[in-house]
């Protein structure tokens, strides 16, 4: 189930990536429409993070090409925001919440220009959106996991991008923060932005996404959510794992329920 779209925001063409001669992604080929919130899902080691990193040009590709807004990434970097896994950085770094959010402005400022008044306002606004304005001068080491993730999201908001790539933004986050994040992401979608989110919770996926990319080294599906989130495709993605069966059963029940409601 791979549905290609016209006028894609993101186009991944025959992508192959390997680490130390071991392939992680094989011939991945899909395109993504604008204005959706797309989930990337698959088991551990299926190459979800690798896919995001390849799109951002952080890895050298063994084959294939990627275009963003029909252009090479280098031409449109200012319109793309990447949110790495929060575990990838050292939160003891001597910086405040505001310092990190300001980093979102550097892509626009260039290496030498200092942030101006407008940048300060954008940062302040981003802090308010994630409800962290009271913690703006807090040192990073004193933040909880949820607050760390909010800082990362505020930095992404400060980038004022059109395409957001997020690597597991809901991992290690409390329920209140997850709610804030989801509302914010939906708000961005309503403004016509495109979001690509690596996610691993099958239960919440139907509530969040309207497009789904299923990945297990090879691409299993890329389609509107309802068409991709089927028992057969999930089985193909995750294999016949025992712990999956209950999730699947639950999902099927939900689907029947929804169908009945529909009638």
């Amino acid at each position: 189930m791979i549905i290609q779209v016209e006028k894609p925001v993101l186009e991944v063409h025959d992508l192959t990536v390997s680490y130390h001669q071991k392939p992680v992604l094989w011939g991945v080929d899909f395109s993504l429409p604008g204005g959706v919130m797309a989930g990337i899902m698959g088991p551990n080691g299926s190459g979800k993070s690798t896919l995001l990193k390849s799109i951002m040009g952080l890895l050298s590709l063994s084959g294939g090409r990627i275009s963003v807004f029909s252009k090479n990434l280098d031409e449109v970097r200012k319109k793309v925001s990447y949110v790495p896994q929060k575990e990838s950085v050292d939160w003891d770094f001597p910086a405040t919440v505001k310092d990190v959010v300001m980093m979102g402005r550097y892509g626009h400022l260039g290496l030498l220009r200092r942030p101006g008044k407008i940048d300060q306002e954008i940062v302040e606004e981003a802090l308010e959106q994630v409800n962290m304005q009271d913690l703006r001068n807090r040192q990073l080491g004193q933040l909880s996991g949820g607050q760390q993730q909010r800082v990362f999201l505020a930095r992404a908001l400060a980038q004022q991008a059109d395409l957001y790539l997020m690597d597991e933004p809901f991992v290690g986050v409390d329920a209140a923060t997850e709610q804030i994040l989801v509302e914010l992401l939906n708000g961005l979608k309503q403004k016509g932005k495109t979001l690509i989110v690596v996610h691993h919770n099958l239960q919440t996926a139907p509530d969040y996404f309207d497009w789904l990319v299923l990945l297990n080294q090879r691409l299993v599906a890329s389609a509107p959510f309802e068409q991709a989130f089927t028992a057969a495709l999930l089985q193909e993605t995750y294999g016949g794992r025992l712990n999956m069966l209950s999730t699947l059963a639950q999902h099927m029940k939900k689907e029947q329920f929804a169908a009945r409601e529909h009638r």
């Binding site: 130390h20 990193k53 951002m56 040009g57 952080l58 280098d74 970097r77 793309v80 925001s81 990447y82 790495p84 990838s88 950085v89 050292d90 770094f93 001597p94 910086a95 405040t96 310092d99 990190v100 980093m103 550097y106 892509g107 400022l109 290496l111 030498l112 040192q139 080491g141 930095r155 980038q159």
Partner: protein, 298 residues
């Protein structure tokens, strides 16, 4: 006690300690403190080869020769780690011991011709610095030659950090994000490694290869304990460098021991003090707070 020689020695100590502290901050923040250790040892063959080729022990020969070797060292470490899949600490260990050993062999091979010895390279001797002054044609002495290398170096490092604060701090905190906004992370890594190499070598004559690590690692680590923001941490490095060079010199002349050793010890003492008494996370302070909370809760 503080004659002009003493002032020159303290000033040189300050220059070395602050250059190393500023650059070391970025190494420590990147969790690469031991790369400084590696570079400081691995430049030995560069110094020997530079001497054998030119027959000169002048700093203008030694610094570039060893600096190039420092960049080579960090490149080999990178290649071993990234391309060959060797653990990063193991690739550091493999690289610098090998290059250092080549330096030792070269020195013993040309022992008769080389006016260099391991002792001098390893331990340095800041007390001899005033014996090698820069004298103008008209006979005016401008102080130790090394000062005229170290002073521009410190200015250059400070200016570099000021101008390129954004890429330096961003690549240290979140390299993946830095790459994603188009910052050339690999390039800035090499710039930092090159700067560390030159600084290490320029610091050789005064503090030697081993003690320079104290300045590269201990000063930034102390400053980190005392500050929550990078600009403050860098400023504290300068303050600590000043305290270390003054107290180190005074302690050395009082006890009649090695000056560079006393300066390195002084930085260690300051680290322990910061560890215990830092207002942010000092152990004594934390214990005190805990106790007063307990009392409060009773």
């Amino acid at each position: 006690m503080l004659n002009s020689d003493a002032i020159w020695i303290i000033f040189t100590g300050f220059l070395v300690a602050s250059s190393c502290g500023l650059l070391g901050s970025f190494l420590v923040l990147r969790r690469m403190a031991m790369v400084g250790d590696a570079i400081s040892h691995a430049v030995l063959p560069g110094i020997v080869i530079g001497y054998l080729v030119t027959g000169s022990r002048e700093p203008w020969v030694m610094v570039p020769a060893a600096g190039l070797l420092g960049i080579l060292t960090s490149s080999i470490i990178e290649v071993l780690h990234q391309k060959a899949g060797v653990q990063s600490d193991a690739s550091i260990g493999v690289t610098f011991t090998f290059l250092f050993a080549i330096g030792v062999i070269l020195i013993s091979m040309f022992a008769g011709q080389v006016d260099l010895d391991q002792e001098c390279v390893l331990y340095g001797e800041i007390a001899y610095l005033p014996l090698n002054p820069l004298v103008l044609a008209n006979g005016w002495s401008l102080g130790p030659k090394m000062v005229w290398i170290l002073m521009p170096l410190l200015l250059l490092i400070s200016l570099g950090i000021y101008l390129f604060y954004t890429p330096l701090s961003l690549t240290a905190f979140d390299p993946a994000f830095a790459l994603s906004i188009g910052i050339k992370v690999g390039f800035w890594h090499q710039v930092l490694m090159g700067a560390v190499s030159f600084t290490t070598v320029a610091s050789f004559d005064s503090v030697g290869a081993i003690l320079v690590v104290a300045f590269l690692v201990v000063i930034p680590s102390t400053a980190w304990l005392l500050s929550q923001r990078l600009p403050l941490m860098l400023g504290l490095c300068l303050l600590l460098a000043f305290i270390i060079s003054v107290t180190g010199y005074l302690a050395a002349s009082w006890l009649n021991v090695s000056i560079s050793g006393a300066m390195a010890c002084s930085s260690g003492v300051l680290f322990v003090l910061a560890f215990l008494f830092s207002p942010l996370e000092g152990r004594v302070w934390l214990a005190f707070k805990k106790k007063s909370q307990q009392i409060g809760s009773i």
